[in-house]
Amino acid sequence: MPDSKKTAVDRRRFLRGAVTGAAALAAQATTAKAQEPVAPAAEKAVKSASESAPAFERPGSDFMVDVIKTLDIEYCAANPGTSFRGLHESVINYGGNTMPEFLTCLHEESSVAMAHGYAKIEGKPMMVMAHGTVGLQHASMAIYNAYADRVPLIVMLGNILDINYRRGSADWYHSVQDAAAMVRDYIKWDDTPVTLAHFAESTVRAYNIAMTPPFEPVVIVADGVLQEEPIREKNLRIPKLVVSAPPRGDSGAVAEAAKLLVDAENPVIVAGRLARTPHGIELLTELAETLQAGVRDQRLRMNFPSHHPLNIPAVGDPITPSLGDADVVLGLEAQELWSLTHKMTGLNKYGMEVTPTIRPGTKLISISAIELNHKSNYQDFGRYVEVDLNITGDAEATLPELIDAVKRLITADRKRAFEQRGMKIADANRKLHDRNRELAAVAWDASPVSTARLAAEVWNQIKNEDWSLVSNDRYPSYWNTRLWNFTKPYHYIGAQGAAGIGYGAPAAVGAALANRKHGRLTVNIQPDGDMNYAPGVLWTAAHHKIPLLTIMHNNRAYHQERMYIQMMAAKHDRGVERADIGTSFKDPFINYAMMAKTYGMYGDGPISDPKDLAPALRRAIEVVKKGEPALIDVVTQPR
């Protein structure tokens, strides 16, 4: 922070050009008595405002933009806030509104969720700006989602630490002693630089920390005084960004894991947030094919081709796949190992009943970097799991060594056994795919539209395009996962992380923005409950011409919660017919096509008859191919 005497003088000079009136001058004169050099009050009094305007001096926020530009950050998402007005102005004028380009957002939660979706397609962070107080309060849930989903993003907070610079009550309400404290439990690192040199070093450091697995959000507080005062520091420099190599698992432990896998009769690989780069799919495919082991993809990233013969299709919930047939389970950045290996009663009838879901003696191996970033307060780490081999390290970075170790151990006998195993798995998987198609046929012509029919109709329209599904497939019962052929890294981006609602629509816009320069057709199957948290992101998509096909999965309810209320009512013998209270969207229904049009984009629907779906999809895709967002409101079956 600049010394108080100097900053007070700078502040007075800043005000000199803007403040007129005797009262203001008197106040300045009082301050100026102790601070030299000053201009005589009489001289100031006779000057007009324009004459007294100080010569332009580069503000600190220009240097901040210089720093940000070294980090290859494409976009900065924000709605405007006084505490970062200097940086905002420098981004759009001094920085030329490019690298980063300012994205006009209508809610801070949307800004962060857009960055969340963008990062999962692009593999690098977007910047978000927000007030250190009220803006961060809006943004905090979305930051927690990104944290739980291990996604990198740079949050730049405005704040005025020095009381001498708080202009009035709003500045006091919007100032905070320790801005990042509010979210420190679910970010990886933060700093509050007090000089521009400090800002440069900490921002570069923050980027490196965010991009070192496990990826996480980071926060830098851009002090308002540093932003707005002229650059006074000499010999400012921007440190070179050095991106750290990802942490790899211990070689001895990896060799032990390889032996367990090669010796196993039926190893199963569970992939959670494994593929953090496009290389992740290739590595998992190589490991699975080398072992001829079945893969159960939790659908938290695009880990494995959905129609690969070794991909065990989801029948139930992919987050908790059946592992009863495994003798060795390899978790690769798997989500919540305890829930993978245990089942708890969902209803708490007579206390919680827990039963293991793996056979006694099944060996459990985990490779994950998450233990490098455990925090105490928020409980996203899950229950303690008694694994047989726990390897702390980034799974994707560890896989090459594991694959090599496996290959070294395979004998001719094992290879023959693997081939037979692979054929059995492939045969079983073909039957599961057939079973899924049979289930999709049930309710094919039903109205409202079944989620299976919706998935099949969309697939028919996009299968020959370069497509990208950017919504959580859980809500439509994973029908897209079951019917579409997912092969490429950008074909799927997983879910929200901490199950915080309000992620879907903005994350889809952010992902579509990342896909735009690649010319991909981005598809978002959008739950209605999620949309209503901050629908203004539709305007952001329209304003910035972000091509995105949004198809409403409009079941007219917070459906998950409606089922839970029904469950509670039945358990308590009170009847279930009132479960709609507080959970459903009716009286009136919400018209999402009209909502889209209101925000300036193409809207169609509501569509309840499945026969109307294909023509509506064709019309909307035409719009999207022209570079615009489009929305179709489809009234659907609940799940």
């Binding site: 139930g316 919930d317 708890m344 999709a440 049930v442 309710a443 079944s450 099949a456 009512a569």
Partner: protein
């Protein structure tokens, strides 16, 4: 396991049973009591509920499952919430769900 055995026994005992339920009232109850929420309006099932359409279960087994569900996701619907007659009505309505079109006759499921 015990639940499955019980269901089998009940099913065997009830093979000859006929349904005396009202499909109209069954439809009303199916909607009012939110059966569709997990099982779908057409009984097609989904992530949160099994398929009901074309169920092979006899009424007595259906009733036994609703009273004491084997799935941890489904709450028990006791007689105070849905009487046996009401369950018979719902069962009768479920039995009206049409047979699905064969997969081979749906081009979109063969792409």
């Amino acid at each position: 396991m015990k639940t499955a055995l019980l269901i089998l026994l009940l099913a065997a005992a009830a093979l000859a049973q006929t349904t005396a339920g009202s499909t109209d009232n069954g439809k009303r109850l199916f909607l009012r009591n939110g059966c569709y929420q997990c099982h779908g309006y057409a009984g097609q099932g989904g992530l949160n509920g099994v398929r009901l359409a074309q169920t092979k279960l006899p009424l007595v087994a259906f009733t036994a499952i609703v009273r004491n569900p084997p799935s941890s996701n489904m709450p028990p619907f006791r007689a105070k919430v849905m009487s046996d007659q009401e369950l018979a009505d719902v069962y009768a309505y479920i039995k009206t769900f049409p047979e699905p079109t064969p997969v081979k006759d749906i081009p979109l499921l063969n792409q």
